[in-house]
Chain length 155, copies 2
DNA sequence: TATTGTTATACTCTATAACTATA
DNA sequence: TATAGTTATAGAGTATAACAATA
């Protein structure tokens, strides 16, 4: 019951047919994510910034005293991974950890003065990059795209 | 010149302020990507499907005889990684590789009958999943979101 | 018993450089 | 010289299970 293959036209570079895959949300998301990371590192690697790291430090900047688990939940980073991130930040002197009196299982996190300076020194570059990520789209389209992604995320 | 921290309100679960990060395209993309992967595996792990693997097999299904490098370029998968993926598919008997006469450096890839059957047995589940990925949005919003992502990708 | 954070382990994806064989 | 694919190696990021301390 196997069907004979049609003669194979030679394919190179970009004449490759994505078929239905080209309108799959998951597929275009994955491709777009690759693009997002590439432009991020092109623009910001000189500042020693990684997207995941900056998001953690930024949340500590905005929410001093946040608990480690709450931070992990919010950023959808798994706890074992968060432990490692936090350890590295502590070793670099960017954050301090303290055990709260009311629940001594937990860890409260705060930026040190050095940590706040680290964020302050980079937030302009980070958010300027952010503003230009969607320059291929009109202002209206860019707003719409972010709105729709936030709706998908139920943010 | 350091400014005293305000008293820290206790933060738990979801009252965590994302600040400007919450409208960063890169950030919401990364969060959405996590969600996309989670729902993918919830729905399709029973079929032994991984998104990257399926995309490779699907392109071979639609473009028999495609060159390995062209496939890597199209899917933005790095060549060393593609080599490994292809080796695994060959070991599983899903694809065959052949050296074209006109350029004996290359590798042309084709699904075997088993490989076509593998895709046939899974494409309905895959594309049905795809159709429901954006059920949180209206049909119009879903179309718009995919259109905007494709525009960002210059697809 | 359940929860917070930690440790250990492993797997995927990615990145780079060096290698081969062909062109 | 340049290109297609391979190998080797390393680093992120993630996943799971098992553990200690605390609730």
């Amino acid at each position: 019951m196997s069907i004979k293959q049609p003669p194979d036209p030679p394919k190179d570079g970009n004449e490759i047919d994505l078929g239905r895959l080209g309108t799959s949300f998951g597929f275009v998301m994955r491709m777009a994510q690759v693009e997002v990371f590439e432009t991020f590192f092109e623009n910001l690697s000189q500042y020693g910034l990684k997207p995941g790291e900056f998001s953690v430090l930024w949340l500590l900047y905005e929410n001093p005293g946040i608990r480690q688990g709450a931070l992990a939940n919010r950023l959808r980073i798994k706890r074992p991974h968060m432990t490692k991130l936090i350890q590295h930040f502590e070793e670099r002197g960017l954050i301090v950890r303290s055990v709260p009196d009311n629940d001594r299982r937990g860890m409260e996190l705060r930026l040190t003065a050095k940590g706040r300076r680290f964020v302050d020194d980079r937030q302009e570059a980070f958010f300027t990059h952010t503003e230009h990520e969607l320059d291929r789209l009109s202002d209206e389209e860019a707003k719409q795209l972010i709105r729709l992604l936030r709706k998908y995320l139920q943010l």
